[in-house]
C-alpha cells in the first residue's frame, strides 16, 4: 500500500494530485488559467494519467476551480475518463449569483458556468456526482472499503449553507464576504490502515481555524480517539498559510512524534501569504515545512522540478512537492529545496 501526494505549483491556489496505490488518481481543486492548461495536460500525459477516479472541488473560489471545466472535458474525451466528481453540494445558482456580483474580473463567473455545463453533460453521460460535506460520503480505494479512504471531514451542510446564505444576504461582494466562502471549504482526510503501517493526511483547502478544529474533532471520532487533535503524517496547510486559517486550528498539536510534514501551496505576495508567523509556529512545533514557492532570493531559483507548472518559477523559485508514503518505506518528500528553513523566514511577511 502506498500513497503519493503531488502539490503542484500553480500560482496562488491549489492543484493537488493524489496517486493511491499506484493505480488511482484523484484531483483536488485546480487553478489553471488558460495559459497553464497546456502545461497541465502535458504533465498528466507524462504521468500517464488516463483516468481521474475522483475530482474534488473543495470550494467555489476561482483559485480552486479555474480550468476545472477544461479538465473534466479533457478526461471525458479520447478514451480518458472521470469516475466521480464531488463538491460541497451548495446550489451552483447561489454561487453563480455571488460570483456575478463580484466586481473583480478574477471571479470568472463564466468559467463557473462552463464548469457546470461540462459537468452536467458528464453527469448526463454517467459521471457519479457526490456531495462531499460532513457525514455525507466516504471514498474508498479498496474493495474492503477500509484500507485506504478519502473522507470529507466537513464542514457540515448547515455551515456550508449558512456561509453562502450569509454572503448572499450581504448582496454586494466584498473581500470579507468572499472570505466567508472559505468557511464552506471541504476538508479531506486521507486515511490508510495497512497491515504494516498507517498514514494520516489532511488536505485543509481554505478552511478557517475554527472549521479545521471541528474537522479534527470529527477525525478523532472516526479513529475512536479521545481528544481534539489526531496525530497526522501530513497536512496541506489551509488557505496558503494565512494567519486567519491557522489561529484556533489546533493543527500544531497534530504532529506525530517521529516526523510530520506541513506543506503550503503558493500564496499571494500582496496578501502576505504564506504568513511568516504560521511557518515559524509549525517549525517551532517540530513540523517539516515544505512550500511550493520560495521568495527568498538567497535560495536557488533554477531548481524547479519537471512537474512545475508555474510561469513565474524563474523568478520565484517554484517547486512541485511530492510526498510519498509506503507501507514498508515510511514517509519521504522531495525536492529538498522546497523545505523552508528558519533562516529563510525573514523573507516572508506577516499579518500578525
Amino acid at each position: 500500500v502506498e500513497v503519493e501526494i503531488h502539490i503542484l505549483e500553480c500560482g496562488q491556489g491549489d492543484t493537488l494530485l493524489l496517486h493511491v496505490n499506484r493505480e488511482k488518481w484523484v484531483l483536488v481543486d485546480c487553478n489553471l488559467p488558460p495559459s497553464r492548461r497546456g502545461a497541465f495536460f502535458r504533465l498528466v500525459e507524462q504521468m500517464q494519467i488516463r483516468r481521474l477516479d475522483l475530482i474534488c472541488l473543495t470550494h467555489p473560489h476561482e483559485d480552486h476551480y479555474l480550468g476545472m471545466g477544461s479538465v473534466i472535458e479533457h478526461f471525458t474525451s479520447e478514451g480518458r475518463s472521470v469516475g466521480t466528481y464531488c463538491d460541497t453540494g451548495v446550489n451552483p445558482l447561489e454561487i453563480y449569483k455571488l460570483l456575478a456580483a463580484d466586481p473583480r474580473r478574477e471571479s470568472h463567473p463564466g468559467e463557473y458556468i462552463r464548469l457546470w455545463n461540462v459537468l452536467s453533460d458528464a453527469i448526463d453521460n454517467g459521471l457519479d456526482y457526490r456531495y462531499a460535506h460532513e457525514n455525507a460520503t466516504d471514498f474508498a480505494f479498496t474493495q474492503d472499503g477500509e484500507t485506504i479512504k478519502l473522507i470529507p471531514l466537513g464542514p457540515s451542510a448547515a455551515v456550508i449553507r449558512s456561509s453562502v446564505a450569509d454572503a448572499l444576504v450581504k448582496g454586494k461582494i466584498t473581500a470579507s464576504i468572499r472570505e466567508r466562502l472559505n468557511f464552506a471549504s471541504v476538508v479531506l482526510a486521507l486515511r490508510v490502515r495497512a497491515p504494516n503501517g498507517q498514514f494520516d493526511g489532511v488536505l485543509a483547502a481554505d478552511i478557517d481555524g475554527v472549521g479545521f478544529c471541528r474537522a479534527m474533532k470529527l477525525y478523532c471520532g472516526i479513529n475512536a480517539h479521545n481528544g481534539d487533535s489526531f496525530p497526522l503524517d501530513f497536512v496541506k496547510v489551509s488557505h496558503h498559510g494565512s494567519l486567519d486559517s491557522h489561529e484556533g486550528s489546533n493543527v500544531l498539536k497534530c504532529r506525530k512524534p517521529e516526523s510530520s510534514i506541513a506543506a503550503i501551496s503558493a500564496g499571494s505576495k500582496s496578501a502576505v501569504l504564506p504568513d511568516q508567523t504560521v511557518m515559524r509556529e509549525f517549525m517551532d512545533a517540530g513540523w517539516i515545512v515544505l512550500l511550493t514557492s520560495k521568495r527568498n532570493p538567497r535560495l536557488p531559483s533554477g531548481a524547479d522540478s519537471p512537474l512545475s507548472l508555474s510561469d513565474a518559477r524563474g523568478q520565484l523559485g517554484c517547486y512541485n512537492i511530492r510526498i510519498h508514503w509506503a507501507e514498508n518505506g515510511g514517509l519521504s518528500w522531495e525536492p529538498s529545496e522546497a523545505r523552508v528553513n528558519v533562516d529563510d523566514l525573514d523573507a516572508y511577511g506577516t499579518a500578525a
Binding site: N91, E111, W116
Partner: protein, 263 residues
Amino acid sequence: MSRDNVLPSATLAVSPHRAFAELSEVTRRPKFSFELGRSDEPRFREYLITALETFVSKYMAIFGFDPKGFRDPFSDRYDTPDVRARYLLLDSTRPLELTYTVAPSVENQQLLLDRERLKTELMAERRALLLERRRSEELTSENDKLWDCMSDIVKENQALIAMVIAQKHEKVCFHERHEGEVVERKGDQKVIVSYRSASGESIRQTYDKAQFSRRGLPEVGDRIQAYVMVATDRPPDAHAATDSELRKAFRGFSRGKTGKVVL
C-alpha cells in the same frame, strides 16, 4: 650701535592682545609685523615672547600646520637672551620695526596646493551636480506633464473601451448629450455646472478638480457639453448567462448523491 644701547630705548607698541587680534585676521598671508617702541628690556622680551607664542599657535591653528614644519626662528630660543639679539640684528636698519615671515615647509606647501586643487575640483563637481540636478528637475517636471497627458488619454480610452465592451455585450441602454454652464467655482478645487434637463429643470452637478484633465478647471460662464453612456451594470461574463443557459448549465446539481463510494 651696540645691542645694549638700542634695547632700552625700544618699547612694544603692540600689546600681545592686539597682536592676537590682528592674527585672527590673518588668513592666507603668512606674514606678520610687530612695531616696537620704547620700553625697558625685560618687559619687551616678555611681551615679545608672549606675542610670538600666541602668533605661532594661532597661525598654526588657522592653517593646520604641523609645528615641526614651521621655519620658526624662535622655536628653540624662547628661553634664551638671544631672542632679543636676534630681533635687533634682523632689523638693524629699521630698529623700530620687526618683520617676521612665516612660511610653510615644502611638504606643507605641496599639501596646500593639493588642498587648493581638490577644493577647485570639488567646486567644479558641485557645479556640475547642481546643473545635473536642475536638468533632472526639468526632466521630472516634463515627465510629470507627460504622465498627466497619458493619464488623460487612458481615462478617455477607458471610457471608449467601456462603451465598446458594453455595446458588444449589448449592455448599452442609451446615450445622452447634455449642455450646461459653469455657474460657480469653489476655489481651485471644485466647480458647479448647471444643466438644463429635457423637461426644462435646472440640474446642478459639482465636479472635482481631479475629474478634469490637465487643462484644469473651467471658468464661470464656460459652456459645458456632457456625453453620457447609460448601460446595465452586469459584468461581461455574467451577461453571457441567460436564465435558460443557467438552468441548462446547472441541471446536474440536483442529481448529487451521498453515501459510501468505492472508487
